[in-house]
């Protein structure tokens, strides 16, 4: 396995250390950068994110990364969005005020019904339409969010259940979104990250 290098997009929103450690433990090389020149050299991109959608989008604009990321998606370079990072991939979000996202995957981010929150470990139900996550079907992953993706079923590749069914993972071509935190899901998280990245990079 040629040493795969992952680029974590650093736009100042969210903690890179855990994602970085997780990827290194799996055996990948990691670069954390906001500089497109650096990010061009890596085999796959990861977009982390903690905090609110609007603040994150303005941070991406400030660092002039929106067009860059959209361009990489167009080039079908592997891109994985984690938690808020996943939500940024979609068309728009209603968190606080309606805000346009990177629009790489059609759909919107809306609040849970009656302002509910989804915190804790929940089992992943893979849709078998896309074999990418199948090895992790039935495994538990750590969720920590109060907004969810709503969009065309074709982009949903995994769901989870809390009061109602909601989207846990989306995919469109080489762009993947994970609502949960694989870097905080112990062994199951590492296995999933490894499978996804190897699949996307080898494709």
């Amino acid at each position: 396995m040629k040493n795969i290098t992952i680029g974590i997009i650093d736009y100042g929103m969210g903690n890179h250390a855990s994602v970085e450690h997780s990827l290194r433990d799996i055996g990948f090389r990691v670069r954390v950068s906001k500089d497109p020149a650096q990010l061009d050299l890596v085999d796959a991109l990861v977009l982390p994110g903690v905090g609110a959608f609007p603040a994150a989008m303005s941070a991406l604009y400030e660092l002039d990364l929106v067009t860059y990321i959209q361009e990489q998606a167009r080039l079908q370079r592997p891109l994985i969005g984690i938690c808020l990072g996943m939500q940024l991939l979609v068309s728009a979000s209603f968190e606080h005020e309606y805000t346009v996202g990177l629009d790489l995957i059609p759909g919107e981010i809306i609040a849970f019904s009656d302002n509910d929150v989804h915190i804790g470990w929940n089992t992943l139900e893979c849709s078998y339409k896309d074999p990418l996550l199948n090895p992790s079907d039935g495994e538990s992953f750590y969720f920590n969010h109060s907004f969810v993706y709503q969009g065309p079923a074709e982009y949903q590749i995994a769901v989870a259940r809390h009061l109602s069914v909601f989207t846990a993972a989306i995919r469109r071509g080489s762009v993947i979104g994970l609502q949960f935190h694989p870097e905080k899901s112990q062994l199951a998280g590492k296995v999933l990250l490894k499978n996804i990245i190897k699949e996307l990079v080898d494709a």
Binding site: N15, V50, A52, I119, G120, W121, Y142, S146, H162, Q186
Partner: protein, 261 residues
Amino acid sequence: MLKKRLIGVVTVKNGWAVQSFGYRKYLPLGKPECLVENFDRWGADEILVQVIDRSLTERGPDFELLEKLGRLGLGTPLIYGGGIRSVEDGMKVIQSGADRLIVDALLHDDLSVVNSLGVRLGKQAIIASLPMSIGADGLELYNYRTKSKSHISEALTNVIEQGLISEILLTDWKNEGYPVSFDKTLVELFPFQKIPLITFGGISNVKQMKTLFARSNIAAVAVGNFLNYREHSIQEFKDTMASATLRSPSYATENSLQADV
């Protein structure tokens, strides 16, 4: 199906992980990062690090400790509490690796900061710590800095009812650290029955845990002192409980001495 959580608690005082008894007596345990790393390997569902002498001395969060914990590369979600005074403090705590933060002193000092943190980070990241006890006329909130008891303020009640915080850490502070002593009536009498609770303080056996987990509004049970007396105590609790509501126990295997494992 969303699982219930067993949280490993590391209480820190003067830079040392300690056992705590009734919020007033302490015994040394070791280096916080050693306990945290161990809970991570044991497969705790979340790890709560509470540094109990930061607000007392106005030194703000223990970023040095958070930085040390960051270097461990934890695979387990981390909750940090201790010394969060402002929105900047809270944001920096999350930036330095904590997944969620917990506030106690701030509930008494400045509720507006709690609100804005909820807005900036999303309320799922915010936990309110309410050490409670039962007084002459019902439930009392304990202020550990002034060692005084009072009723939950109107303002705090609004913040909770407006859903600006995701969970409440309900601590039976009087029985904290003593085996099989958590007072269930605290949960029954607790005014906010809709908000998910993390129960802590004197929970040491599976029987207690089962009864607590049976209540729908209890999302997690936290254990502190009692995780330090046995090897694999988190897995032991999960094995004995053998309940589908919890994630099953995991036993790490890096280099086995056994044949063909």
